[in-house]
Every structure is written in C-alpha cells, then in structure tokens.
Symmetry: C2
Subunit: 205 residues, 2 copies
Amino acid sequence: MSGAILVLSGPSGAGKSTIIEHSSNQIGEYYFSISTTTREPRVGEEDGVDYYFVSKEEFEDGIRAGEFLEYAIVHGNYYGTSLKPVNEALSMGKLVVFDIDVQGHRLVRTKMGRLVTSAFITPPTLDELKKRLYARSTDAVEIIEKRIQNAKEEIKAIDEFDFVIINDTIEKASAQFTTIANAARLKLSEKELKKLIDDWENPPI
Amino acid sequence: MSGAILVLSGPSGAGKSTIIEHSSNQIGEYYFSISTTTREPRVGEEDGVDYYFVSKEEFEDGIRAGEFLEYAIVHGNYYGTSLKPVNEALSMGKLVVFDIDVQGHRLVRTKMGRLVTSAFITPPTLDELKKRLYARSTDAVEIIEKRIQNAKEEIKAIDEFDFVIINDTIEKASAQFTTIANAARLKLSEKELKKLIDDWENPPI
C-alpha cells in the first residue's frame, strides 16, 4: 500500500506539535514534512530539522523546475514544500504529515486529491488562544497580535477541512488525532484504485 | 455533538453485515438504517427489522410528502430510506450506518453533505465473490448471476467513496471498518461548524 497525506492547519498556539508528539506511538510510521524557506534561521533552528534553509535563487530555481508541491511568500520570504521527500515517504508507504496554513491546504488538496485527509486544530476559544500565545511566547507583542489576526482569518476556512479538532484537553485532542491519522492511512491513490479494479476482474496469476 | 453518517456500499456477498457485527463492540452506539420497501416480505423477514414493509400507495404518499432521504425502483418495487428515524438518531448523537447501493450513496451525499463518510466493501476478487455467493446462497442461479452483474457495475463507482475495504480476512476488514467508523463519528455538520466559529470569537457566557 502506498502512503497517504494528513494535512494539519490551525493557529500557531493551537498545540499541533504537542498533539502529534502525544499521539506518535499510536499512529504508526509517519514522515513529518519539513518546509523549505528563504528566511534567516533563528537562534536554535537547525537546517533539515526545523526547515530546509535555502537562498532566494535556489528557491526560485526550484519553482521553475516544478519542485514544489506548494509555496507562498510571507513577509517577503518564500516558504514551500518540496515534492521529492514527500514522494519518497509516500513510496515507502508512510503517512506524510503537513503542518501548513489554509492556503497550503488548498494547494495540496488540489494536487494530491484522494490521498489527502485534513484537520483544522484550534484552541476552544479566541480568548484561550490569546492566553496561550502570551503565556508561552518570548515573541514581541506585535508578532503575537499578528498571529491572533491570522487565526481570526484562518478559522473562516474551517469548512474546507475534513475534520476539526478542538484542543481543550491534550488527551481528548490526541485521541481524536489518532483516530483521524489511522483513518487517513487507509486512503488509496487514484493509481491504487485503478489497479484494484483491474485486478478485481482479472487477478494477476 | 450531533451524530454522523456512515454509508456502506458494495456487492451482496461482500460481508458487510458480518463486518459490522464483528466490529459492533468497538464503534460505540450506532443506528443501522432500515430501508422501506413495497416488495413482499420473504419467509423469515420481519417488518421493522429487515425492512419497513409498506404498500405502493403509502410509499408514493411518502415521496410526495418529501419523507425519503433517497429512493429507487428496483425490479418494479420501491426501496427507500425514511428521513425521520435517521434524523432522530442523528439528534441523539448516534452514528447512522446505511447499507445502500452506489446510487443511494450519491443521493445521501448530496443531501447530507459534510456529515457523510463512505466506504465501499468488496471481496478481493470477482472470483472470490462468485465463490461466496454460490457457497452461501439458497437463491436461484439467475439471481446469483444478476448479483454478479450488479457487482461488476457497482465497482466502477468505487472512486466516489472515501474509503475502500477489501474483505479478505474478517479481522483485517473489521479493524479497518472500526477505524473508519470512529473517524466518521468526528464529522461535524454545517450547523455545528457555524456555531463553533461563532462561539470561538464570542463564547456564550
């Protein structure tokens, strides 16, 4: 069986990474997609772990060569997902997990079709999101406020997602995530479906 | 949380009821939708268990009153799904399971939108289906052959379904069904999504 794709979106502060970590023993082998960006690494960020850091020229060469599954410009920097590692993970039968925004979700869904399952993860309320962002963050107030504005925009796209996970308790949210991830893994590609129908009437000997 | 809908389709002989029975302890409370028909009850069939048996006039009154979620005429008899018990089960938060054909799936999906998850269940090969139908059936050969012809038609609609379950072993097929049913239960209706977004920005006090 080939792999499948699980797209997670939702505001920064929704707890996406915590949920994935908490569920990682229950969801089988997966590949967490690492984005490529032209922005400068921040202190503590590692190339190939947090992002693939590349130059603007490299990124634009990649765009021209059709190497990106999706990309966007945010605050003057490119962010994108390279197709190659995704296809490699899929061919190994892995579940590929994306943490991308609602715009990225639209592009991945268009390009990868049936293989995609998606979930929007959010804290129960806007107030709770604000609390979490202010409590955890060492970022400047204007960056936090920008994230809150983004969250208010992104939640409007919630009906484009297959599932919604309200992260009020980590146990409940992780259990839902596990259920969704295990179902996502059962998705078949167009190619697999075609082969299935062919083999169904005329099984290979 | 309101309920959700799980549509199962697939050839007669695919093992749908066996899979549901085998999984019933793992999928929480569910309501198995009972169809309404104008055909005569067969020996051993009970009204309200196997079908709701009604007259042609009653059925046609129901159609005019908009009481059917979906219906079709097969070999001169009406078969359909009444909306009322489905809506009652949904309002109690139950998972409503349908065993209907690919045509019924299309209609339910159109009318119930986001609440629907669907799976096509099939034996691994056409030969295996033939074996199972001939082994178990007390039906006449022409009825069995008719079912096989139907199966060959129905499998062409496989790409309209969210999931495909190949029933080669009951353990594997039931485990997949359980995963799918538990994910199906997490689906939210349009109304729930709208309320969620409203409450997110302005929580009720």
